[in-house]
C-alpha cells in the first residue's frame, strides 16, 4: 500500500495525542493549573494536528463533514464520531483541571475511554480490510492500542508504567510482524483464484492492461517498502522501544532525557508506521503480477 505521508502523520500523531489524553483523563499525572494547561495543549495539539493531516489526502474535502453520517456500517465514520466525542468530553474535564483545580473524575474516565475507542476505530479501518491480509488480523488493533498507550504514558511522564507499556509495544510489534508475514499465504489468494484460471494450470501475467501507471498501481501496488523491511523493523524497535526504555529506566530523570526519549519514540513509531503501509500487499496487485 502507498505510504501516504498524510496518513502516516495522522495515525502517528493522533495515536500519541489520544494516548496522552487518555492518561490525562485518568488523572495521570495528577496536575492542575498551568502545568495541566501544557499537558492538555500537547495532547490536543497532537490529536487535532493528526486529524487535520488526515483530511489532506481527501480528493473532495467539501464533503468531509458527511463522514460523520455512516457510523452504523463504516469504521472510518465511527472514527470521526469517536474522535470528536473524545475531544468534546475531554474539553470540560481539561477546563476543570486547568482553571478550577477540580477533578471531575467520571468525565475524565469517559473521556479516556472515548480516546482509546478512537484509536481502536482507527485500527479497525485497516483491520477490517480482507483485501490487505497483513492488516486483516486481531494484532492490528492490538498494535494501534499498544502504540497509543505506550506513547501516551511516555508523554504523560509515567516512568515505570511507560517502560512496561513500551516493552509490551515491542512484543506486539514483533508478534504482528511475524503473524503479518504469513497472512497473505493464509488467505489462499493467488493469481489463480483471482482469475479463476487455477483449474487449468499455472497463471502468469502476459501483458498488463495499460502501458502507464494508474490509480490502482500507485495506491495499492507500492513495492519499495518490502525491500527494506528488516532494516526498518530494526529502526522501529530500536528508536521506538529500546532507546526510550533505556532513557526511562537506566538514565537519571531530567527533562532533556525525557525529550530524547519522546523524540526517539516518535521517530521509531513513524518508521514502523511507514512500514505498516509500505509492506502491506493488496490482493489487487496480483492482477498486475506484482
Amino acid at each position: 500500500m502507498h505510504p501516504a505521508p498524510s496518513v502516516i502523520v495522522f495515525t502517528t500523531l493522533s495515536g500519541l495525542g489520544f494516548g496522552l489524553l487518555a492518561f490525562l483523563g485518568l488523572g495521570m499525572p495528577d496536575v492542575t493549573g498551568p502545568v495541566a494547561f501544557v499537558f492538555y495543549l500537547i495532547g490536543y495539539g497532537l490529536a487535532v494536528a493528526g486529524l487535520l493531516a488526515a483530511t489532506f489526502h481527501l480528493g473532495n474535502k467539501v464533503n468531509a463533514t458527511k463522514a460523520f453520517s455512516q457510523w452504523r456500517t463504516s469504521w472510518l465514520s465511527r472514527e470521526g464520531v469517536c474522535s470528536v466525542a473524545a475531544l468534546l468530553v475531554m474539553a470540560p474535564y481539561a477546563i476543570g483541571r486547568i482553571f478550577f483545580e477540580a477533578n471531575w473524575a467520571v468525565l475524565g474516565w469517559i473521556g479516556a475511554l472515548l480516546c482509546l475507542a478512537t484509536v481502536f476505530t482507527t485500527s479497525m479501518i485497516y483491520a477490517q480490510l480482507k483485501t490487505v491480509p497483513r492488516w486483516n488480523m486481531r494484532w492490528t488493533p492490538a498494535l494501534f492500542l499498544s502504540h497509543a498507550l505506550a506513547g501516551g504514558a511516555l508523554l504523560a511522564g509515567q516512568g515505570t508504567i511507560a517502560a512496561i507499556l513500551l516493552a509490551v509495544l515491542g512484543a506486539v510489534l514483533v508478534l504482528s510482524w511475524k503473524q503479518g508475514d504469513a497472512r497473505f499465504d493464509e488467505t489462499g489468494t493467488t493469481l489463480g483464484t483471482a482469475t479463476g484460471l487455477a483449474n487449468i494450470g499455472t497463471v502468469r501475467q502476459l501483458e498488463p492492461p495499460h502501458s502507464g501507471e494508474n490509480y490502482l498501481l500507485k495506491e495499492m501496488a507500492f513495492q519499495v517498502g518490502r525491500k527494506h523491511s528488516v532494516k526498518l523493523r530494526a529502526i522501529a524497535l530500536a528508536f521506538g522501544v529500546v532507546v526510550p526504555v533505556i532513557c526511562l529506566i537506566v538514565l537519571p530523570f531530567s527533562h532533556s532525557v525525557a525529550l530524547i526519549a519522546v523524540l526517539s519514540h516518535l521517530l521509531g513509531v513513524a518508521a514502523g508506521r511507514w512500514l505498516f503501509f509500505a509492506e502491506a500487499k493488496h490482493v489487487v496487485s496480483l492482477y498486475y503480477g506484482r
Binding site: 500500500m1 489526502h57 481527501l58 480528493g59 473532495n60 474535502k61 467539501v62 464533503n63 468531509a64 458527511k66 463522514a67 460523520f68 453520517s69 455512516q70 452504523r72 456500517t73 463504516s74 469504521w75 472510518l76 465514520s77 470521526g80 479501518i125 477490517q128 480490510l129 480482507k130 483485501t131 490487505v132 488467505t187 489462499g188 489468494t189 493469481l191 483464484t193 483471482a194 482469475t195 479463476g196 484460471l197 483449474n199 487449468i200 494450470g201 499455472t202 497463471v203 502468469r204 501475467q205 502476459l206 501483458e207 498488463p208 492492461p209 495499460h210 502507464g212 501507471e213 494508474n214 490509480y215 490502482l216 495506491e219 495499492m220 493488496h282 490482493v283 489487487v284 492482477y287
Partner: protein, 245 residues
C-alpha cells in the same frame, strides 16, 4: 445509509466469456467514451499526449498466460475486468459519507458523486481494483453498468445495454438478470460452469466469468512430417556447385 440491502429484486450483471474474448479493448474504449460524456464527472486523463500518460478507466483488459501443470500447451487468456456488482460488496459498507450504495431494485453498485469525499477507502476494500479515484475530480469512479443506457427510453431498444456489451465485436460479453435462473445469462452460466473471481474474499460477485476451453495436448504423432526434400538432377548439381564456390 451504506448498509447493504437484504436482497435485491434483480441482480443485473455481466457474463464475460474468456473463451471468446480476443483482447481488442473495444469495450475499454466504448466504456470510456460513454462514461466520460454522460452521467457524472468525466473520466479524466493526465499527460495524455506526454511521456507518461494515464487516466481513469472503469474497465480494463488484462492478458494472462496459463500453462497446464500436466504439461499441455500454454494458452493466452484475455481478461476484461470491471466492477462485479457484488452481493456482499465491501466497498459499500466501508463508505463513511453514504456516497456508495447498492440499489434494491436491480443490485447495481453506484457512487453518489454529490456525497463522495474522495477518501479512497472503498477502492482499498475492493479486491478487484474496480474503483479508481479520478485525479482531476477527486471523486471515486466505478462501473455503473451503464445505468443511464439500460433504462434510457430515448435510445433504440438494441442500445439499452451497457456500452461494453453493445460494442464487443466478438460477442464475449453478455448482460442480464443473474437473479433469474431462467434468464439467458443464468442459463449460459449454468451451461458453461461460470465462475466467481476470488470467491475466498466472500464478496459474492454477481458478474460471472466463463472459463476458456483448454487447449489440446500436443502429442508426438500430431506433428506433420517435414516437407523438405533433397534436390535432384540439375538442381542438385547447382546446389553443390554454388556450395563449392
Amino acid at each position: 445509509m451504506t448498509a447493504l440491502p437484504q436482497s435485491t429484486e434483480k441482480k443485473l450483471g455481466l457474463v464475460i466469456d474468456l473463451d471468446t474474448c480476443v483482447g481488442c479493448h473495444a469495450c475499454v474504449v466504448n466504456c470510456k467514451e460513454w462514461n466520460t460524456s454522460n452521467y457524472g464527472e468525466p473520466l479524466s486523463d493526465q499527460d495524455a499526449y506526454g511521456a507518461e500518460p494515464e487516466g481513469t478507466f472503469l474497465n480494463r483488459v488484462h492478458a494472462f498466460e496459463v500453462t497446464p501443470d500436466t504439461g499441455g500447451c500454454a494458452q493466452t487468456v484475455h481478461f476484461p475486468k470491471s466492477c462485479l456488482h457484488c452481493e456482499d460488496a465491501p466497498c459499500v459498507t466501508v463508505c463513511p459519507t453514504g456516497a456508495s450504495y447498492k440499489r434494491v431494485e436491480d443490485g447495481i453498485v453506484l457512487v453518489n458523486e454529490q456525497d463522495c469525499m474522495g477518501c479512497g477507502l472503498c477502492a482499498w476494500a475492493c479486491p478487484y481494483g474496480a474503483r479508481e479515484l479520478d485525479a482531476l475530480a477527486g471523486i471515486m469512479k466505478k462501473c455503473t453498468l451503464c445505468v443511464d443506457r439500460i433504462y434510457n427510453e430515448n435510445l433504440p431498444e438494441e442500445d439499452r445495454e451497457p456500452a461494453c456489451v453493445r460494442t464487443c465485436p466478438a460477442g464475449a460479453r453478455h448482460f442480464g438478470d443473474l437473479g433469474d435462473p431462467n434468464s439467458d445469462v443464468s442459463q449460459l452460466v449454468a451451461e458453461r460452469e461460470g465462475m466467481d473471481l476470488m470467491p475466498e474474499m466472500g464478496t459474492k460477485p454477481v458478474n460471472k466469468y466463463l472459463p476458456p476451453r483448454q487447449k489440446d495436448t500436443l502429442l508426438a504423432d500430431m506433428a506433420l512430417a517435414p516437407k523438405h526434400e533433397e534436390p535432384k538432377g540439375f538442381l542438385s548439381w547447382l546446389d553443390k556447385a554454388l556450395e563449392a564456390l
